[in-house]
């Protein structure tokens, strides 16, 4: 392999593994050199996921890198430091902007300090939280961190570590907001933040100077909980991450486990899963559209969108027995076979939805006020989208071709024809239109599949206790908001050693500061609506 030789030429100590993806292990002081070589010379400009891991005797980070031209041609970097008292690694924020929030997450949950990171604050937990939850020796007894109803002041000191010329590490502190700045709180209880997201916005008159997202108001510690659960048990938590793409999240975890333990699922299951994913995507985009329009003042659009979403929920309800949290995919198949009315209802739904889409465009898209508030507002360029790891409809609106369904077809996506919806403008209007066009594209996919569902078993037989062989596995799917990835590190047990969900929402929130600077504060609401993040997916 050519790349391997190049790396070995530069760093002779690097260790290679041929796991699911080529894996390179390096010493922490060499990591930045290797990362910048891969990023700047080899074109690995997309940091898919950054995972902090407690390896027992050392603390480390696993980087999944990809090329933006082909987001699934991946390479994995690994590094670890044995110093558990004061773990320090080098930051890669200067190479990939998306590392910023991910490194803050690793700092908050594992206590790894990143040298040269501009802003070492905890991402999810309060600054005063005792202990680092994702470490294996974390003491979870409630006496350490009791439930308090007293508000804690936010820490506004941006701590950063850097090297002096002598090679010592010094700590610098900077205030987040200057004394002169006028700061407005938006959230955590605000109808337009789509959940409990907290922005602090520094204003100059009506113009936004800076946005600081404050996360963690719905951080439930799902990743830590998964470490003590068996694989079938943890499935139900995935539905509650991004509840608007419940099927798709669960599909990702199921297929990751199926690949790891080599369970073959039947073709019928692949078709069912694909159709359910697409129905879910339509439902999610409908809700995204409704909520965005409502945020911009069009309550009628909200009522319309919710009305049509109920039709999809009816289809789900027949087969899965639930409306929102379906618990439908299981390891090796799906929970129940399709309802006899499924095909009929889907066939009724497709023409209905096509017809109603025209109405949507009439009611909102052409509206002068809506156009004024959406066009040329909140522009994200393609390079920024790649660097910040923005995938899904928001990334594609900037021209970043990142559709996992297209680049590495999973389930039944390889057997059908569909277009990847791409736009170049990257503004709020483009994100809005990509979402609506994707609904039509999903309808096309459904139309191709609905008549050709093959016969076969809907569930493969699995062992009563599922153990994943030792190793690391990564599986990504295209969720309604972007690339949703599952990283499992297994030691051969019935529960994972470390499990990480790569959520598309975290990247979406990280660009709010970038794209809303110098826009008006009222446009922040429209920008947030067009990004369509779901906060429980970000906080996990």
């Amino acid at each position: 392999m050519e790349l391997k030789e190049k790396i070995l030429k530069r760093l002779p100590d690097a260790g290679f593994e041929d796991a699911q993806y080529p894996t390179v292990t390096v010493e922490p002081d060499k990591l930045h050199e290797l990362a910048s070589m891969l990023c700047r010379e080899e074109g690995y400009d997309f940091l898919v996921s950054l995972t902090g891991v407690d390896w027992g005797d050392s603390l480390g980070v696993v980087y999944h890198l990809a090329r933006s031209g082909n987001p699934l041609d991946m390479i994995v970097l690994k590094t670890a430091t044995a110093d558990k008292e004061h773990p320090q690694l080098f930051s890669v924020t200067d190479l990939w902007e998306t590392a910023n929030l991910n490194e803050r997450e690793a700092y908050g949950l594992l206590g790894i300090n990143f040298i040269n990171h501009p802003d070492m604050r905890r991402l999810f937990l309060n600054e005063k939280w005792k202990g680092f939850p994702l470490r294996k020796d974390y003491d979870a007894s409630p006496e350490n961190n009791p439930l308090s109803i007293e508000s804690e002041p936010f820490s506004d000191k941006l701590r950063s570590l850097s090297f002096t010329t002598q090679g010592d590490i010094i700590e610098k502190e900077k205030e987040l907001f200057g004394k002169e700045e006028y700061v407005v709180n938006i959230g955590p209880q605000h109808p337009s933040t789509h959940g409990v997201l907290h922005f602090r916005v520094s204003l100059d008159g009506e113009l936004i100077r800076k946005v600081d997202p404050n996360l963690g108001y719905i951080h439930r510690g799902i990743e830590k909980m998964c470490e003590s659960m068996t694989y079938p048990q943890m499935l139900h938590l995935t539905d509650r991450l991004d509840y608007l793409s419940a099927h798709i999240n669960r599909h990702a975890l199921c297929s990751c486990i199926e690949k790891a333990v080599e369970i073959e699922v039947s073709e019928r299951v692949e078709y069912i899963r694909t159709m359910m994913d697409e129905l879910q995507r339509i439902a999610s985009h409908l809700l995204g559209w409704s909520a965005m329009c409502m945020d911009m003042g069009a309550l009628t659009a909200f009522i319309y969108g919710m009305r049509d979403r109920e039709k999809i929920i009816d289809i789900f309800q027949d087969t899965c027995g639930a409306r929102l949290i379906m618990n439908y995919n299981v390891i090796g198949g799906v929970m129940y076979d399709l309802h006899p009315d499924f095909q009929k209802k889907v066939k009724e739904f497709i023409p209905y939805m096509r017809k109603i889409m025209k109405e949507y465009h009439q009611i909102f898209t052409g509206n002068v006020i809506a156009d004024e508030r959406m066009k040329s507002i909140g522009i994200l360029s393609k390079e920024q989208a790649v660097s910040y790891g923005v995938t899904g409809p928001s990334g594609r609106a900037s021209g970043f071709s990142c559709d996992v369904r297209k680049h590495r077809p999973y389930a039944a996506y390889g057997k059908i024809k569909f277009n990847e919806v791409l736009r170049e403008e990257g503004d709020t209007f483009a994100r809005y239109m990509v979402r609506l066009d994707e609904i039509l594209e999903s309808l096309n996919i459904l139309e191709q599949l609905v008549d050709h569902i093959p016969e076969g078993p809907y569930q493969a037989k699995t062992k009563p206790i599922i153990r994943i062989p030792e190793g690391e596995y990564f599986q990504s799917v295209e969720a309604a908001r972007g690339l949703f990835g599952v990283y499992i590190c297994s030691k051969g047990d019935k529960s994972p050693y470390r499990l990480k969900f790569r959520s598309p929402g975290l990247s979406l929130v990280s660009i709010v500061d970038l794209i809303s600077r110098n826009e008006k504060i009222a446009d922040l609401i429209a920008i947030g609506g067009s990004l369509d993040y779901v906060v429980p997916d970000i906080d996990r």
């Binding site: 209880q189 409990v196 809700l287 319309y304 906060v535 429980p536």
Partner: protein, 208 residues
């Protein structure tokens, strides 16, 4: 006497279950103490108005929030029962539907929201997360039920509850509101306050 004479639009009285609480704390107390005929009638009038215009706060943290939105939207439409509009400001809301998980970082915010609401105010805990922490009760960062933070009037179980069950829970709250003795308890507390003041004065006199 049973809990009766509470008229909820569209639903027969016999169809309601879980009336033990109302029976114990409202009906039996009323039977023991009686009620002033004028103030009682005024109370009934007030309660009729209040129970049919309970405005919820737009508050949702996770999945249950979507079902809450569905209840507000076209098919289920809680405006039919007087929940008319959701208010984005706690100052204008009568009831807070805690829809979703409450984590440690959110707890002070929820408490503040509750404190900001004007009296009389009510709380509905929607979904198993708000009741007990639900599927996340093992977690290090999740509050084990919202009643640790604020008092709860109605619990609606489910993960997430179906819109029908949320509507049922909201109607149960209406029944509770209809049994409130709002003016009477205000008058009683006025009486009690007068007595307390008199007692203090008498005691002061003795001390002097």
């Amino acid at each position: 006497m049973e809990v009766k004479g509470i008229y909820i639009k569209g639903v027969k009285n016999e169809e309601f279950k879980d009336t033990e609480y109302l029976q114990k704390y409202y009906v039996e107390e009323l039977q023991q103490n009686g009620s002033n005929i004028v103030i009682g009638a005024l109370d009934d009038l007030l309660n009729w108005g209040r129970s049919n215009s309970l405005w919820p706060l737009t508050f949702a943290t996770s999945c249950c929030g979507i079902e809450f939105m569905c209840v507000g939207a076209a098919r289920f439409d809680f405006a039919r029962f007087g929940f008319e509009v959701t208010r984005s400001s706690p100052r204008q809301a009568d009831v807070i539907v805690v829809a979703g998980t409450i984590v440690y970082k959110m707890a002070p915010v929820l408490k503040r929201l509750y404190d900001q609401m004007a009296e009389p105010k009510y709380v509905i805990a929607m979904g198993s997360c708000a009741i007990s922490g639900g599927p996340f009760c093992e977690s290090y960062h999740v509050a084990k039920g919202v009643q640790e933070i604020i008092p709860v009037d109605v619990f609606v179980p489910g993960c997430p509850p179906r819109p029908e069950s949320l509507l049922y829970g909201m109607m149960q709250l209406q029944r509770k509101v209809k049994l409130d003795r709002f003016l009477e308890s205000a008058q009683k507390s006025k009486k009690r306050r007068k007595e307390a003041v008199r007692e203090i004065r008498e005691n002061d006199g003795k001390l002097k």
